[in-house]
Symmetry: C2
Subunit: 442 residues, 2 copies
């Protein structure tokens, strides 16, 4: 493709003086992943860094030959991180590895101090009498285990999403949870929590698994535990955020496009390599590869969404703004490990069979679950009742790294990243060349 080659040449020129993470072999996915994590770094929703990421993304997508590249601004309620510290005061002094959760309440600079009440599960917390946690700090444990499909995150993730609000409802002065994660490193897992209207936000943090093990060990002994919790960050309204979109136009611009989603923002403890620079790298490289050997019939659009991590703001903003019809949506937001399964929400059984057959030589199996896309494309899927193809990545180790300081470039295996791009390319070559209507399952 002449345009593509020209675009690549242009990239080299444009970025020779500014980029330092480009692969000399010209691997688009790796370049995007290394660039976003190394030339921008962490990209907290609503931050100056996320704004730099939009500038970077716009330039890269243009350089790669995308057209109609646009930054679409919106505003969000964000969380500005402060100083995160937690220390056991009794029975032994010990500095814990802690992170504030997004939308945590704010402690004074010297922190809050109180006795810890240990709850082995979220249900145990729910069963605590009203008012029983007054002046106390709740600790919520749980038993998440690793699964290939990541299915532990839904139920055990409720400890993070709902636990703080429930503890607040029982008058706790603060809350600490065992990180929603499957590793054994002293790296806590952050993530958003949720204080519904009428519930007082209280300071809410997560400690690493080894720290939670120690707390559980002490709790089993019946010894009183005292804790200082210092989380000085602040929930802040009206911060700037935005989506970045770009098109690779099809041969028939009148046909609704294929929409590919990922998110540009990340948590701030690491550099957001697996969550979700990898997703943006995969969909973008595959969209370009699908042009090789002949421009597809339909336009392929990439959506690099903003502020996914704090409530899916980007996906909602896109659905609101883009009422033009779409053909089908897909998303990559589950790391960079190999695609192991394909699932569908599609009326045309023959089309799904063709896609599954194209992926089968790669060892990708067909699942019987219903595809749902991901946070950044779900609002438009819901609104327009779009067909969906999910390429499920192996999540066995995803929650070792998810939302931790360890989410960095070195965690991505270039061969697995390339397998993702290859699988996405196979799917795009089929769906973007499908002339007839593409509809969701009835």
């Amino acid at each position: 493709m002449r345009n593509h080659a020209r675009a690549l040449a242009l990239t080299a020129t444009l970025f020779a003086s500014t980029a330092y993470a480009q692969d000399p072999k010209g691997d688009v996915a790796w370049d995007l992943l290394a660039g976003l994590t190394s030339e921008v770094g962490p990209r907290l929703p609503g931050s100056e860094a996320e704004a730099r990421a939009r500038v970077w993304a716009e330039a890269r997508l243009k350089a790669l030959g995308f057209s109609k590249v646009a930054v679409e601004d919106f505003r969000i309620r964000g969380y500005v991180r402060g100083r995160d510290e937690a220390s056991l005061l009794a029975p032994i002094p010990f500095r814990l590895a802690v992170t504030a959760l997004g939308y945590s309440g704010t402690t004074p600079d010297t922190g809050i101090e109180g006795e810890v009440v240990y709850f082995p599960t979220l249900d145990a917390l729910k069963a605590a009498p009203a008012g029983s946690l007054a002046g106390k700090i709740a600790f919520i444990d749980h038993a998440m285990k690793r699964n290939q499909d990541g299915s532990g995150y839904g139920p055990y993730g409720q400890v993070r999403r709902q636990g703080p609000a429930i503890a607040s409802g029982k008058s706790a002065m603060g809350v600490v949870i065992r990180s929603i994660g499957t590793d054994s490193h002293r790296n806590p897992h952050t993530g958003g929590t949720n204080f519904p209207d009428g519930v007082k936000p209280i300071p809410a943090g997560a400690v690493s698994n080894p720290d939670a093990d120690l707390i559980a060990r002490i709790a089993r002994s019946g010894k009183p535990i005292r804790l200082n919790l210092t989380l000085t960050g602040k929930t802040t309204d009206n911060l700037p955020s935005g989506n970045v979109i770009g098109d690779l136009p099809g041969r028939d611009p009148s046909l609704p496009p294929i929409l590919l989603g990922c998110h540009l923002d990340s948590w701030d403890l690491g550099t957001g390599a697996i969550d979700d620079a990898a997703g943006c790298a995969i969909i973008t490289a595959a969209a370009l590869k699908a042009q090789e050997g002949g421009k597809p019939l339909r336009t392929i659009r990439v959506l690099w969404a903003g502020s996914e991590e704090l409530g899916g703001f980007g996906g909602k903003a896109y659905a609101e703004k883009h009422s033009e019809p779409h053909a089908l949506a897909m998303e990559s937001d589950f790391g960079a490990a190999r695609v192991w399964r394909v699932q569908f929400n599609m009326a045309d059984k023959a089309l799904t069979d063709r896609i599954a057959a194209a992926l089968s030589p790669m060892g990708i199996v067909r699942g019987s679950g219903k595809a749902d896309g991901g946070t950044d494309v779900e609002p438009v899927i819901e609104k327009q009742k779009l067909a969906v193809v999910d390429l499920n990545q192996d999540g066995t180790h995803y929650f070792d790294l998810h939302h931790t300081p360890d989410d960095t470039l070195d965690k991505v295996d270039p061969a697995e990243l390339a397998q993702n791009v290859a699988a996405w390319t196979e799917v795009l070559k089929i769906v973007a060349n499908e002339a007839g209507p593409i509809a969701a399952a009835p």
Copy 2:
């Protein structure tokens, strides 16, 4: 053994109200390991915590039936940790995972700021012209890889031990090294450094491997790197430390004892589980197990040394104080992974053959290197020209955890810990029952 059984019963009584880390199955090694890491926690040389550890150790050894249990005090030059922070200021803002090295120079509270000069190796730093680092911060990279015998630590560890002094000699205002470690987590590896007399101590820190990867990536691009380095800890003289020793008397108290060493102190980022609570647990459990089936001929003495981490103070103090003859020395200070090899420094070939034969059914091979004990027993070995048996542990993953926040209880596999105890017990049953003189190789 009646005494041993009584001692165990006594332990249960004594600690029912104070200990919370005891295994109901009564596994001595696991109890000691869990207790020291959970009931005392980190044990920095010269700290209040190390003093608590001595009290704890004395009580535990007495409760386990050791006699002549003694705390032998000494004073050290220590390092009192402050606030450790480092942030890239250019080309992108990024907060690094950093730790001060022991004996680091002290920065102001607001840190020092300067341009980073990247050195791929220690030799590259050595080759820098005198004065060339004035006003700059040196970054020293290296290429340590994992080896079963841990042999990378000697040469690459020089980056930590000597690098800061060499950078100071070239007028650097500060120095940061890639952690001496083999993992890919955002957990830096601390450890002591050394500023010889006449060399000005400068602030010296280590960043995690993923952070070092990022710095190396930027350095390859030629872009200037600016860094703020804040390490407010202080080298402090005359801090209290001490050794704890205890004996299990042999049938013939006139024979020189077998000396078993480990160290009680630890770095403060984790809880010192593999370095070196595990060592103390292993030697102590094995000393007790060697009593089963008949009290050995020779006394077995355990030395839980203090302040190993900052210069082997405990081992030196022991050698100075204990001029009485010893028969043989051994040490456990390389984690808790399985013993894979035995090596000797022993004149009596027949005795070494018997030991190697006893270990062979456990899959333990015989090495041809010369046993040297470890930091805590080396001074007495040198002084008295003692025979030595080394039971080498598998170090493949040791430097993933060594001196990091990740050195916590969950990293120890109880089955591997038990294999260590079993291997040590085999050796002790032979050497502690050897009537004839036990001598080092000539």
